[in-house]
Structures are given as structure tokens and as C-alpha cells.
Symmetry: C3
Subunit: 358 residues, 3 copies
Amino acid sequence: MQTTAGEIAARVGGTLMGDHARMIIGLATLHQARGDQLAYYSKVAPLSPVERSTAGTIIAPLGLRSSADADRLGKSLIFVDDPQAAFLELLFEYFPAPTREVFGVASTAEIGTDVQIGSGTNIHPGARIGNDVWIGKDCDIHSGVSIGEGCRIGDQCEIYPNAVLYPGVQIWNRVRLHACAVIGADGFGYRQINGRHEKIPHYGTVVVEDDVEIGAGTTIDRSFLGATRIGAGTKIDNQVVVAHNCNLGKHNILVSQVGFAGSVTTGDYVVCAGQVGIADHVHLGERSVFGAKCGVHKDMPPDQRFLGAPAEVDRDFFRQTMSLKKLPELRQQVKSLEQLVLQLQARLDANAADRSAA
Amino acid sequence: MQTTAGEIAARVGGTLMGDHARMIIGLATLHQARGDQLAYYSKVAPLSPVERSTAGTIIAPLGLRSSADADRLGKSLIFVDDPQAAFLELLFEYFPAPTREVFGVASTAEIGTDVQIGSGTNIHPGARIGNDVWIGKDCDIHSGVSIGEGCRIGDQCEIYPNAVLYPGVQIWNRVRLHACAVIGADGFGYRQINGRHEKIPHYGTVVVEDDVEIGAGTTIDRSFLGATRIGAGTKIDNQVVVAHNCNLGKHNILVSQVGFAGSVTTGDYVVCAGQVGIADHVHLGERSVFGAKCGVHKDMPPDQRFLGAPAEVDRDFFRQTMSLKKLPELRQQVKSLEQLVLQLQARLDANAADRSAA
Amino acid sequence: MQTTAGEIAARVGGTLMGDHARMIIGLATLHQARGDQLAYYSKVAPLSPVERSTAGTIIAPLGLRSSADADRLGKSLIFVDDPQAAFLELLFEYFPAPTREVFGVASTAEIGTDVQIGSGTNIHPGARIGNDVWIGKDCDIHSGVSIGEGCRIGDQCEIYPNAVLYPGVQIWNRVRLHACAVIGADGFGYRQINGRHEKIPHYGTVVVEDDVEIGAGTTIDRSFLGATRIGAGTKIDNQVVVAHNCNLGKHNILVSQVGFAGSVTTGDYVVCAGQVGIADHVHLGERSVFGAKCGVHKDMPPDQRFLGAPAEVDRDFFRQTMSLKKLPELRQQVKSLEQLVLQLQARLDANAADRSAA
């Protein structure tokens, strides 16, 4: 790309402050951009990251317009309503996704019997497709992927290298499954009999609905009966554990290293930040948000934010954390107070003695 | 399957309450079963899950018999001593495990030199077996599995797709190793020399004893010398870390995302719930139980339950957690008390002044 | 090996106490060594592990020399400045690493077009190298590894079975990447538009500098633009998450199950113990040390040790933890104090009533 700040401003419908003619030859992040690169900043405050940035041209939110001084900063600033959207639009325009090459089934892919593969789908070298598997249109099943017998995969799915689907798993449409993710391993269930843990068989499966993305190394176990279910539009980061019989709502966000024990259910739009753990059979209400490292052991209501382990409503957690910080001080305070009270008591006793002596 | 509540009751030796003739055409969980399906419930209380269930027929514990009213619930209830055992028995009867097909060594499996493979063992397409590996009878080594040089694997083991055994690892009998598990990677040990972390070589191995199950994505590192050991009958869930030189007892349960640092040892029947972390060189006493997210940094005695980080005996943890919740209130209380004491002091001072003035 | 305590002492330049002629036929850890084996102990205190050890000969630090009594212990003790270094030296001498066999590109490896492979490099059976990949000299790319289009790999790298490199990733020299590690998966970023999470494309990459080791199952995501960077000499354990746009300094240590959210930056020599979590955009100062399970949500200064979640300077954490343990007691104390104060108040009131009655 080679353009100017003025041209970019025109293209994104923004208001330019500063040098219109400033050359732009690339896009970069605010922290890394050089003088001839374009970056963006989404927040209205603080201004300091914009001031510190070495980017020559920055797309910024309209809310910053009154406080920013492009000339003083020696930058060209382009103000728009949604800087991230404008930046992404430019990114797609200047760096369009490469066209997908369709080569079909690679000669070194292993394909079982009774396998159906839709048009436009690539089975990459070294992928292994079991018997009785159906795969839809325009999918990429990458190298080293193992798809077990009887799996069903919809259209436009991308399954990255070395991911594993155990037999019978169902993946709907437009699902992305990253490398080394494992879908459909046995649930972790045992009965203790005569001092031994006897395995409880898991006859169920996993259903991953439309538009779900599942991160690298994430594992989603099959259910005892029926299906472990990941609702449409839910996005799951790397190294997340979803245990047997979980039933996740739509459009959930599960950040990396979250762990859901067995039979957890969630409403729609639930968010769990990194390393959150949810105990078995718990229900998370819709739009509930759990901060990093939360531990949840009981049903949680919708529409609130939680922190801590055991999880608390966030303002209660903050109050407790603040109080805890001052706890050593409080202990001193109580100790001093105790001494003072004992002094007062001694004085009262002395007065009483005086009076009775009088 | 197609049967009736009466026939099921007879088969499991249970006592039927409600309609004997109720048709049953399938098995399902209590939460998902329909009117023509059979479910089970194991707890004696509360009764509410049974009442809310849409299952037509439910196997329930004898202890519920006096409080349940099948006619009012419109269900058939079958009371037995152990509902889960009865249900599993029916499951095995109606849905017997498919017979294992033995095909031997797939043509696209890679087999090294001096490899011994027992009768009835399948090496699936694309599995890779290094030199000098011995594999026992009736095993399944699935696609994409990599078994390093000199490994020893017993009878009736199942190693799921894309699991990795580094060289020299020993797996005994009836071990299940799930997809993308990694056994025998180098322990994480370095010496800092002139500002650089120099790698400490790991000459040891990993020994996985009989009847162990290891979950998807779990990693068990090889020892410095000797062996990292997983005791017989121990069950390990997904994404667990067991570091170098650990020595785990028999029949332990490690739930997902548990982390054991180097040289941890455990007695038999230890249970660690999800996301527990154990510091290096710690010993966990037999039958000790660690609640989710516990953090342990010192030896722990047998036969107790622990919670929190640092871990406490559970009742101490509960007391502290309760107290912490009331800490902001306690601070207010101390503040009020302080003011009251100062008032009393002022009054005493005033009295003393009065007296000396008198 | 077959040697004596006296010969070993001479070889490592140590001072021998006890039987010079004691036979040594092997090396083992202090906990597992037999009477005819050599072990080492690095600490100056306590002495008890040395006393309890069944090892016949032990290399120990000079600082123990005055307090140890070899005859009483029935052992041969060899005192040196750095027992671990001496022991490793012997280990390398008696058990030299096997010479690497160079076989080049295995016939069942899949090699794309325009691939460059340096001399002395092995591409093992079933490894898959995409188009336009450059690999340096003396590398081992093990079975089942998937290297995406356009990747660059330096000299003397070892990539263990089933690890995955997404397209465009850069690995410098002497890097070890363990089994099932995933480098370069998409960063976890979405924009919520009309109730759906729309994927933010990740055009950046990952750069892994010289002498980095990355553990089994660890995932390092690609950046939005530019690169996620792992500084030279940094060592990362198993099942660690490093999210998009992170920029790690040199010689960091990240123990297993650590999670770094997006855009975290670190100075050199930072240490994070197991299960630590760092929130997005946080900076960790050089030589800062974070204890197991720390949760960090703001920038942290250099040269200090932190514990807890939220993380505190370690001595503050210890004070708070101690105070928390005594919190139930403190509540009782305040309650008693309150009663005492009310009694004093009542007495004062009674005195006042007496006086006014007088």
C-alpha cells in the first residue's frame, strides 16, 4: 500500500487533523507503528498512548477530537466513530484474504469407507477420516487431523492440524477447530467398587453448533448419554476444559484455561475470563460475567459480574479485598483499643475503690 | 429396546411404584429423558429433580420410597439399593459395546526395527512406532500416535489419536491414554550459569502402572534419573500436568487442569479436584482430598479435606471465608467501638477533673 | 560404570570423608539411590535428607562438611563447592548423549514446494512441511509435526512429535519445541456486532528467538499485526498459554499452566511459577518473581517477589494470610471487647446517676 493521511480519511469518512499529505505505506499497532504507518486507538481516555506512539497517522475516536492537538504531536489524526471498524476495513482492503485453493482429497489422506465429502472441501495430506463420516462443502481438514467413525461435519468448517474428533461427534457449519483440540474424549466418571475406580462408559457425544470457534489444545468431553453441547456463536479460547454433559448457551466467551466440570449449563452471552473454574451441575445465568480465576460452586444469577473464589458480586469482592489489605492494621487497631479499654476499666475500678473507701 | 417399567423392575430386582405397563423405548439422563424413556436418580434428597424430570420411568434409591408419590408425579418409580449400578447394568445389556475388530498393523502405519507386537493388537493407519518398541496383546494404537524408541506397552492398552510417548516410556496393562496426551517429555529443569538457563538433562523415564487412565492433553514429564511413576488404578483427567520425578500412589483421582510440580509424592486414594496446584517436593497423605483450586506448598496429612490457597482444613477455610465476607462489617464495628471508647475516656477524664476540682 | 568413592572424589576435585574404596556402579537421586550408587545433595541445611538417604556415596556442599559425620552415617561423603554441577559432569561423562544419526528426509515425510532444508537436518517419517518453508542445519523435525507455509526455522532446532506451527511462524536457533505445542494459532479477538462475536483477523505472526524451550501442549498465539515475541533464552514449561501480541523479554521462566492474556510484556529474567495468570496489557518488570497461582491485573515493578490474587508483594501477602487465619479469632475478640465497653459504659452511666442523685 502507498497512500496519504488525507486519502485514508476520505476513505473511512473521518475528519482529519494535521498533515493531509503524510505518506502511509503500512498498517501497524499503536505500539509498533513507525512514522510512515497507520495505527488506531479506540479509547477516549487516556490520551497518553497516542502521545507516546511513534505512528505517523492514527485513527482515533471522535471523543478525543477536542483534547488532541495533532500539530503539537506532529501526527496526522483521523477521527471516526469506531476506529477499530475503520482500521479493520482498511486492513481487509489492503490485505485481502488469499483465495482458498481447492485441491480436494490429498493422495496421502486416509479416507475410510462410506465417507461423503462435499464440493470445495480439502482433505490435506496425512489427515485421517474414519468410516461413515460426512463432511460438508468448502471445508479444510488439515494435516494430521483424526476424524473418528460416524462424525458429521457441516459446511465451511476449518479443522487445523492434529486436532482430534472421537467417533460420532457432530460439528455444524462455519466451525473453526484449532490445532490439537480434542472433541469427544470420554467423560471423567468412575464408580468406586471394592477400592477400585470402575469406568463409567460414555455413550453420548458432543454437538458443536454453528459459528463456534474452539482454541488450540481445548478438550470437550462426550456425555454419558445425549450430548455435551456448545451453543451457536460461542467462542472458546486455548486450553479450555469443557467436561461431559455440559450444555453451553449461545454466544458465550470462554477465555483460555477455563475449566467447566461436568453438567455445567449456561445462558446466552456468558463470559468467563482466564483460568475460571466452574463446579459440576452449576448453572450460569445469561449475560453473567466471571473475572479471571473465579471459582464458582453454586448457581449464579444473570446480568451480574463476579470475582474471586468462591465467586462474589464484584463490588463485594472489592470491599473484601480492600478490607483484607487493611486487616493487619485492623488487628493492631483492635489490640490498641483493647489496651485502652483495660486502662479505662482499671480507672473505673480505682474510682469505685476510692468511692467505697470514702 | 422396547420394554415396560414392570419388566425393568423385575430385571433389576427393584420395587415398582406406579404404572407397570408404562412403555420404555430408551435410556436417558434425568434432565433429558422423555415419557417413554428410563432415567435414574441416585440421591435420597432433594426430591425436586425427580419431580421436575420429564422421564416416564425413574430408577431411584430405596431411601426415597417413603417420600415419593408415583401417582401424583405421573411416573413409574423403581426403587433399588444402587440406582446407578442398576442403570449401568441395563445400559450394558441394551447397548453392548461393539466387538473389537482386529486388523493388525495398518499398511500406512510406520513400524521401526526390532518391534514386537502382540496378538490381537491393532496399529491404526498413520501411527508411528519407533525402533525396539514392545507392544502387548489386544491393544489399539490409534492414528497419529507417536511411540518413541524403546517404549514398553503391556496388554489391552488403548492409545488414542495423536498421543505421544517419548523414548523409553513404560506403560503397563489396561492403560488408556487419550488424544494428544504427552508422556515422557523432558522435565523442566535448568541451572542458571552466567545469566543463561542451562538445561538439566533428564535421563529418567515415566512408568504408568496397570489400569491407569490419562486424559486428553495431559502431560507427564520424565524424571531426571529413575522414573516419574503413576500408581496402579490412578485416574487422571484432561489437561493435567505431572512434572518430573513425581511418584503417585494407587487409585488417586486427579481432575482436569491439576498441576503437580516436580518430585511430588502421594499416598493411595488421594483426590485433587479441578485446577489444584501442588508445589514441588510436597507429599500428600493417603486419602487426603483437595477441593478445586487448592494451592498446596507443604506436606499434608492423610484422611482430611482441604480447601483454599494456601490450603487449609476445610472447616478452617469455611470459617475464614465466612469471616472475610463479614470483614467490611467488622471494620465498621471496630470504628464505632473506638468512638464509643473515646467517649467513655472523655467522660472518665471529665469526672476525674470534676473530682480534683471538688 | 564401575568405580570407587575415592576415584569420584578425585575426578570432581572434592574432599572425601568416609570409605575411599566404596564401590559405585551407578548414579541415582538421593531418594532412590542404593548403597552402590552415587547421589548428590545441594543444600547446606537440613541434613536429614542425607541421613535418611540409602545412597552409599553422596556429593554434598562444602558447607555441610563440619556438621556431617560420614562414619556415623555409614556413607562416603564427597564435599565440593557445587554438588549439582559435579554430579552433572559425572552424568555426562558416564552416560554421554547418543550421537545423532542423520538420515535426512524420510520417505514418508510430506514436503511442499520451494522448501529449503539445511545439511544435517532430519525430517522424520510422517512430518509435514508446507510450501516455502526454510529449515536450517542439524535440526530434527519429528513425526507428525506440521509446519505451515512460509515458516522459518533456524539451526539446531528440535521439534517433537505432533507439534504444530501455523503458517509464517519464525523459530530462530537452538529452539526446542515439545510435543503437541501449537505456535501461531489465531489470537482470541472478536468484535460484538448485532449480538454476534465477529472474528478479528490476525495478520501477525510469532517469533521465537534463540535458545528458547517450549513445553508440551503449550500454545502461543499469533499477533493481530507484527509479532508475538518470545525473547532469547526464555524457558516455557508445559501447558502454558501466551496470547496474541505478547512480547516476552529474555531469560524468562514460565512454569506450567501459566496464562498470559493479550499484549502482556515482560522485562528480562521474569519468573512466573505454576498457574500464574497475567491480565492483558500488563507489564512485568525485569527480575520480578510471581509465586504459584498469582493473579496480576496491573503493571508490576522490577526486582520484587509477589504472591496472591490480586498479587501483593510477598511480605504483605504473608501478613494478610496470617491475619486472615486469625480473623475468626479477631471477630471473637472484638465481640468480647464490645461487651466489655458496654459494661464500662453502664458503670459510667450508673456512676453519673449516683452523682446526680447525690
